[in-house]
Symmetry: D4
């Protein structure tokens, strides 16, 4: 609601075209609409099928069930990340439509169609044990309405998979690179392509990886420009971020 809108409103008040109480209600929302944290384009999101997202970790099965039960009353798509199979079972009881992406640990219910651009996101992992994080990223991006190209186990030991898929990676609009331990894959991919790379360090490993710190620091200090980093194991964040970039129109 910009100055022009306010002027129009006030003129309507002056001219008696609108009741004062109704005008107050319009104005009361001003701070929310103008500043409105996390409420941007709420209607558009409903309209376009953009899902509501719940982070289940640290919540009880009961809390997740209750939140989703409330959401079902709204006409919206739903994504719940870090969801256990127990949570899925609890949610399935509410409505038969829910889907459980087991490896990605995501519960989803996509009632409304989401527009999917032609461009795509590549998700590259260094090892097999990075796959759960990769699936969280890939499934998130897919549910948000993106094509995803998975290239898994393409680290030092499986580098031929990287090379075999180099063209398809280079043609992505944005690339998610997921690696634990020394996290070198982000720098290697960063040296081979010129697209934005979202690097996800994983906590998988042992010893001096210190729960993902080794990969985190390596990715943050990557000499390959174009690499930015999200939290350790944060597949969801990478998928969401990549979706934002993949949906950019020129």
């Amino acid at each position: 609601m910009n100055s022009k809108d306010i002027k129009k409103l006030l003129e309507d008040v002056k001219d008696g075209k609108i009741e004062i109480n109704d005008a107050i209600n319009h104005l009361k929302d001003l701070p929310f609409k103008d500043l409105g944290f996390a409420k941007i384009d709420f209607h558009r999101e409903l309209r376009t099928g953009y899902p509501e997202i719940i982070f289940c970790s640290g919540k009880t099965v009961g809390q997740v069930q209750k939140i989703i039960e409330f959401m079902l009353t709204k006409d919206t798509n739903i994504i719940a990340t870090r969801a256990t199979s127990d949570m899925y079972n609890a949610v399935k009881d509410l409505h038969p439509d829910f889907q459980y992406h087991e490896v990605a640990r995501i519960i989803s219910r996509m009632k409304k169609k989401v527009t999917i651009p032609d461009s795509y996101i590549s998700v590259v992992t260094a090892g097999t044990s990075d796959i759960p994080v990769a699936e969280e990223a890939a499934v998130t991006a897919e549910l948000l309405g993106n094509k995803v190209n998975r290239i898994y186990d393409a680290g030092v030991a499986g580098i031929h998979r990287l090379v075999d898929n180099l063209d398809i990676i280079r043609d992505s609009k944005v690339v998610i690179v997921i690696a634990g331990m020394e996290g070198a894959l982000a720098s290697i991919v960063g040296g081979l392509i010129n697209k934005p790379i979202i690097a996800v360090p994983t906590s998988i490993g042992y010893g001096a990886n210190f729960g993902g710190i080794s990969a985190l620091l390596a990715m943050l200090t990557s000499c390959a420009a174009g690499v930015s980093v999200v939290n350790i194991d944060n597949g969801f964040g990478a998928g969401f971020n990549a979706s934002m970039i993949n949906k950019i129109r020129g």
Copy 2:
């Protein structure tokens, strides 16, 4: 050099249109062209005026001067980051064209025009002391061919500057948020807009900021989806990354 090119080359060999030794020289470059770390589209970059970039930190004045002297022999734009005024003076002696962005600590020489899209990047800082990092990001982005919108000192104490500029920030294609200490600005901006945010923690501060660790961790763990992070004080990386995203065509 794809399969078709190779086929053409071999047919030329067969037909005697090319000498075997010349063909060998063409083929010798195959691995570089195909895999070619950091050499992607080298010709396009020269053609488009995309600059060569030197990271001066840890190099002596003499080394920087020598690297740039060599670059001058090539017909390319030049950016040197983390450059001291001593380095600038040494480089100025080589050629009068160099410019020194003092706060950003960047030496540049833009000989070739760079195409600049209509969309723009916003650079938002929490405090006054974050400005050197912000300038590194902004000047990098500008030299790479982007419009930049600066909103400085918009942290908790100057939050009105954030609110005053909310519309212009929301209309950016990508936003760089730069903050030290508790780094909350990244989460605040992340809650207000739905564009990709590149967060840069800064080392400015004291005590439990531990040289930027507090802001780094806060940004990595931001609850606002859409935030990815680069190294502490890495204005260049943020500017480069933002340029990549800003130049995405639909």
Copy 3:
């Protein structure tokens, strides 16, 4: 026991009004009464119903039971924090009066009335998973004799709950802000109100939150003046501290 008291005592000795052995007993307590760690106003506390507090973590069920059994012999209110349901069951056997605040993990027995001031404490959390810590803070404050206003899940994703309750938060005498991950809520609330804020970082989260370090550092380095910090997950400390401030009389 100040100089005047001692003088009186010695005069009584001189005058034979008090036996030397009785005088010795009075004097023996001097260092305790004067220095008396944790023994200040012991009688006043008993008189006012101020409870005895046991920290159960690291103690066995048997130890907790034994300590509380001993306390029952004294005419005092009892609070036991970080208490498991096993501990509650063991304590319930001793006396039927005990109450178990499950989410707060607190066992209480409030035999004596505590005076409750008109002013109140607000407890604000960023997320749902911060609730156990928040309940520890809130129940502690209530048992110590305070009115508590709970505003939960008011972080970036639920910021409307913060805004909706801004007036009631501003009218608090002191505010407890509880958040994990990037802990930005402390800075956000700190920028919106001018009351003392006690920030409690929580260990809930993953990756670079490092068991609460991210929120801890963010809160310690908060640019909003008026924020002080207690230990990670220390809901009790926050509730106790807030009670001290809420009970200040002009």
Copy 4:
């Protein structure tokens, strides 16, 4: 501006008592006034002489001078913390009224009287080298309008100074305890009094104090309830926080 105010304004608009443009200007400020980070009671602050505060660290002498020059145009009290003597000299040129608290590293100009309550704040330090941080806290509190009682060098080696002043400490409304190294003084004072304690770890020391981490962790994990902590060396934060508490009216 609450609903009643808005109603009145709209009725004035309707009745032609106020010009639409003027009404717009009133309404434009709504989000700021309602949400208004750091802008709370701006007028009251001006009225009461509450000062504007500048954190000089990380700013150049020129920047500080420019900020203060601008402030002089407003009719307000000024505090600049972490100010070097160079900054003071630069500021002194602007106006002869400025005062430099050298040990506290604070520049001040108190043009308007601040109301000072009868209650007071005690500032206790463990050692001599904690004095600069203590002075920052004490001078901050004094400039904000508080009586301050200094007890310095009262750590293990000077514990008699603590004991000698125990009564006066106990009668404070709030106590600031400042200590480096093992930071035990916060727990010792916390065991002796029942007032809120704001603990400030200092970076002074060597070896395993790791720039203040030892004292910081010790204070955060203090077994004495009632202790909350601010950033390492953050004398200003402690002074500001203590002022908030000291000014609480019953």
Copy 5:
């Protein structure tokens, strides 16, 4: 494929001895053969019985079984490290030949003979609890075709075992030293012999060993020249590395 090979290929093309499509297929592999990460001398390794190695940690039993099932189709030796007994049981079902080295947590199948040099590797541990890591190193080295000399429990408390075996240690070609806690054994052995030492810190211990950090730092800062370090608990890496050195021919 060197220049000579390429020349020969092109001459064959010119002379019509090879079809252009076949030549293309040969050339297509050029980058792999020339750069080929982790693919060096693949044929020699098959020929010489050098095993394929799988790191089982972070993989499910099903994944390990599937990988090994695929490997069985190739005529190669197999080593699977960090393998649980569940994994062994799953693998045993595929083929009866597999062996399980329980303490070393290694599954192996050595179908082809490996050449074993006369020289040998010594594996020295400080304590009894370092034995699992030591066995991982020793069994790895043995399976790769090396003689291994084990000296266990030779730390400060069992130093006589070190002294008793000093001659045999000195005659090793390379020595692996495995120790937790203060990791001093690496420095002690390093002061007694003049052969390359590969030090392996172990995570066994408590308190200030911080999961192996104490031994890791001690080994990295060892004043005895000739000591290099692998990851905490990385027996495999030490065994592999030692094998490389032991197989060096003059």
Copy 6:
């Protein structure tokens, strides 16, 4: 075996009083006797009943049983620390004499009398949860032949127990102070007595105690001279060390 002994031996060789092979056997032990890590006064220890000590943590029940079985063949006292009740049961089967100190987690068999000096060691803990570590220290010291004076739960909350026992603490020859969290008790006791203090940080606690780091750093940086520190939770080391000091004769 000093020079005089060697001279005597050689003269015996020369005079034919001893066979050359026997002389060689005597000399072979020279390096052990002279340098002999951990073998000092081996005979005296046997003679005096000084026990052999086994650290059970990281060892299997089988390994502990086997080590102790071997020790039973020697005529020596036995202490096994960090022993589980499973280990005790396994050891009890070997010989009925073994005793299990459950809280201290120590298995002992004291066959030979140990001389006990008149002086004693005080073991002081801050809290109840420090008792297992304290018992490890106390039982170790007792088994090594020392009188031990236990003062438990004497931290900030139970400081009266410290004051009540001050005289007995001051008359100790050496004091062990055991505390977790902020570890202030070491400094408090250090300020009250002038005897050597061995401080043991414990890992009990939560949040910013980081598994004992807070207490460890606080004790290392204690301003009270006379405090030295052993590893987190290392009750055995403290007991052993205190025994060494308590047994010093003038």
Copy 7:
């Protein structure tokens, strides 16, 4: 002042042998004398020549001068550690008697004779660069009245110096071992002798020594029983502690 003394005093009051005001003055000191942090045996210390100790680090030259000026008014020995030559010059002006131990950075004035026992303390360092810390320890111990035996540069590279002096080290009453980097010397000496060892990690070194952390952790986790640790570079603490032990009478 024990109960008997108080009884005597009260009887004197009763009998009029002492004025009430004088009695008050005696009693006023009770808490100090009984509890008296750092004031124990104050008179004995004066009598025996035990020095007052000032830690100069973090104090200004002026502060040190002022403290020592005050001390000169008392009839006591003086030690000032971490003293710069500037401080020495300032102090020398006050009185000609002061001595400056340059390497140890200690200013001393020993007016009263201190009793020196026959037993002695050994100070062993690993390297040459540990000497300043060693001298701080040695000079402290000497000034406190102890014989000191220095064995410097006896680490891995100079281990013969350790072996050559083994007898004299073994005959010490207590040994101070000072080492940086991997700090193995503490474990090596601990394995060779059965006397209490006070280990001092030093900050000298580079890389993964992290300012002394590597040596600190190694010493804390030493497998050699009998080793306790003081702060990084804390030569004074080691010397003071060793003096306490060396002065123990049987």
Copy 8:
């Protein structure tokens, strides 16, 4: 001196061929010769020209001069690492033969010829700023008698230098890889060659490299087998270690 030698000596004693005192002198050295830390093959080293090595860091110019002055009296080669130009000037005064390798910060005097094998060591760096560490490694290896092949600035940005030199790197006997920041070069080279790699993390960089920790952790957790790691910036250790391996004869 083995049993046979001792037997011969005793027979000589018996036969009167050697004086008892001379025999004692021979035997006295037994523990040194047998155990002899750092004294192994002392004569061979003198004979072969193997140099004595001094680590100058933490030593004063005077100390270095004095140590080298003493060494000049022995007929040996000398290497002094981490030597400043001041140290070189001081040493040059003692003897004109000394050479200063400025970038490597090494002073050397090679009086005796060292045998140099045909095989060689490759030293590869990621960046220009890693050169000082690389030169320390290379010069060390050369002075110890090795051929060294330098490939500098071959990281992500200069990867063509790596590829251009792949054959010569693969034909090395051992490779030193030196890199800061993300340290990925060690993994990249480790994936391309099958020779032992000694990785040296460097402290050059900023932000989340934390003085070399990022590269250190990345190298320790490298997925490429065959990589072992030395201390941050420890070029000397890498050169010494590589020399040991390069000199292995089959």
